[in-house]
Every structure is written in structure tokens, then in C-alpha cells.
Amino acid sequence: MSPPLVAAFAVLGAFVVQSGLSLVGPAAARLVDPLLVVAVVIALARGEVWGMVVGAAAGWVLDAHFGGTVLGLAGLSRMLVGFVVGFAAARLLLLGPGSRLAVLGAATVLDARGLEWLAASFDVGVPTLPALPLAGRALLNALLGAALYGPLEARLRAERAR
């Protein structure tokens, strides 16, 4: 399967998980963000162009299905997060599991505060996520992302070997 198709399926899979979580327990759906995790993991593995494209796609999916009255805020926020993560991953040595966890956690915080800032800039009222729930969200996203990175890394190694 080609990498763009894998990325598209990953985004759709994350949407299905997020949608399912919202029905099982909305509180759980607020604590973990599979769409963001997929964008950050792909940005870490493939660089800034993939990061921003997959980030924008994941953000628009979130906007369209779970967003407020003005769409595109999550799209823009996640595109910028994907770009920053991909840019950093391609130029800095973010190889170890520890650094990946830190990047996934930081990306969650960056996305949350970025979305809140963008919403305020466009005069859209959104609540500010308090520090503790945000930290919990960052931790859960980091753990989920670290678990997803393994299979993706194996696939990348196979691609490079070919």
C-alpha cells in the first residue's frame, strides 16, 4: 500500500476511534486525541510536508465532525503542529523513545493552546483547557503515539531497505 493511502487510512481509523470513544464515554473522548496523535507520529516519521498535510487533514476531519460553528481552527492549528514537529524531527535527532514521548506531549499542549489562541483571534469563544486535564491529555496522547510509532518505524525501515 502506498504511503499516502496508509496516511489516509490512519486518519480515517483515528476518526472512527474518536467517534466510537465519544459514544462510549465523552469524557474519554476529551482526554485522548487519536487524530492529533496520527498527525504527529507521521510528522515525526516523514518530515514537515507530510506533517502539515496530514495535520491539516486530521484537523479538518475534527472540525467537520466535532467542531463549533466556525470550521478550520483545528485544521490550521494541527497543520502548524505537524509542520513544527516534522521540521524539528528532520533536523534534530529525535530518535529515542523518550524524545518522541516529549514531542508528542509538547505537540498536544501546542495544539491546545494554538487552537485556543486562534479561536480568540477569530472571536470564537472556546474554554481554556486547565493545566491538569491538559497534562493528562498530553500524557495519554504521548503513550498512544509511542505505541503507534513502532509499526510505522518498521515499515519505514522496510521502505529504506528496498
Partner: protein, 288 residues
Amino acid sequence: MIKVVDTRRSLALLAVLVLGHLVAISRQVEAGGGGTLFDRVLLAALTPLSSGTAAVVRGVSDAWHGYVDLRGVRAENARLREQVAHLELLLQHKQDTVREAERLQALLALREALPLETVSAHVVSRDGTPWFSTLTVDRGSRDGIRLNAPVLSSTGVVGRVTDVGPRAARVQVVLDVNAGIGALIERSRVAGVASGLVRSAEAGRADLRLKYVPALADVVVGDVVVTSGLDRIFPRGLVIGRVTAVGPGSGLFKEVAMAPAARFESLEEVLIATGERPAPPVFDEGVR
């Protein structure tokens, strides 16, 4: 050199995408949000996937509850395991049917009492982010749903439609901080605006507040809050919630907190208004 060219290319792409997003968002802000062709296409494309997920989740949830019940029965009645399991599943199915019938009966009673034409809809997804309180339902413009249509449950007001696709609609629920409903204290007829609390980003919070209530107004804990009809979206007299706390606030207004009447955590079916019900024919005395 290659790295520099790559960086320039990706920065150029970033600039184009950022500009695109800013234009898309600005156009919506200027237009008052909701209802663009792109929104409708995205909503229409994603909803079948979400509906499928909802069906799978319901199936797995039913199977899981059946399994848990079966285990409880097994521990108590080892000899009659097969028979009890069968009866238990049958009973559960019947109970589910009864619960569903009760919910639908309550919705039907509400539908008959309302001065509005309504359609019923299933909830296919709920809050997916901490920033917005929305839900998606499986009815859209083909069923007569329009933008801003009131959405109700048998226990109270749910919200209003903010985006409509052909077979799905997104609903902004009253818990959203951007929501606003013209409201009245039923007992004292004090007016205000019901809206979501900013704190609702804390997972699981489901509070409302009543804004713009004068500092000297007659409001006490336990008062029922109903729609006033002044927002020209919701008909008057529908229950929004109940007052849970009253504080002095700052300046001219009181701080009034409310608990919503609608049970958002377990919402499965809702009623959506499609238009006003035609008034019954008035007969002339001479004709009668």
C-alpha cells in the same frame, strides 16, 4: 543545498496552506458561521463512517453487557447455566425494548405537546473535543432539517442545528460556551440568557449559567428555567434546566448556575423541529 531547497519548498507550501486556512476561516466568520458547501460535503462524507461506528459500538456494548450479566447468573446458578443465560438474554432484550419504548413514548408525548412539526433523530456521535459541545444526528436536509432548528429531548432543550448535510446534522448543545438561549425563571418570570459555562472544558462538567439576571431579581435555588421565545429560535415554555446556585456576582448582574434538564451523557434520540404546526381550523359560529 538540497536541504535548503527542501526547506524553502516546505515553507512555501506552509505559507500557501496557512493563507488558505485563514481565508476559509475568515469567510465563515464574516458569514456568521455554518452552512457552507464545503462543511456540508465534509459532514456528508464523514457521517456514514460515524453511523457505522455507532452501530458497531452499540452492538459491542450490547454484547458486552450480555456477557457481564451472563457471568453474574453463572456464579449464582451453575446447574441452570444454559437456561438462565437464555432467559437473561431474553429478559435483557425485553428490558431494552421497554426502555426504548418508554423513551420513544416520552418523545411522542413531547412531540404532541409542541406547537411545532418535528422529526426524531438518533445521536451518532457526541463531544469529541474539550473545546466544543456538539453532537451529530442521522437526519439532514432531506428530512426537512434546517439551520438553527431547535433540538429537544423528552427531558429538556438540547440545542440548535448549526450545520446541515443531506442525511446528517451537527447540533450545538446548550452546554457550549458559545450557545445562548432566551430564558425565563418559570416562577418569577425573570428573564436572562442560558449559556454553557466556561469551566465545561474540565472533563465531565455539564453546567449552564443564566446570564444577565439583574442583581435584585427574585431567583432561588431549585427554580425551573424555561425558554422565553425571545431568541426566535426556541418556542417559549420548554424546560432548559434548574437553578443550582445563586451568587451576588459583580456589578449589575447575579451569578446564576443551572443544571441542564436534558441528560446529555445518555442521549440517544432527539426531536428536531422542522417548522411550525399549522393552527387548527377555526369555524364560524354560524357554520357550527
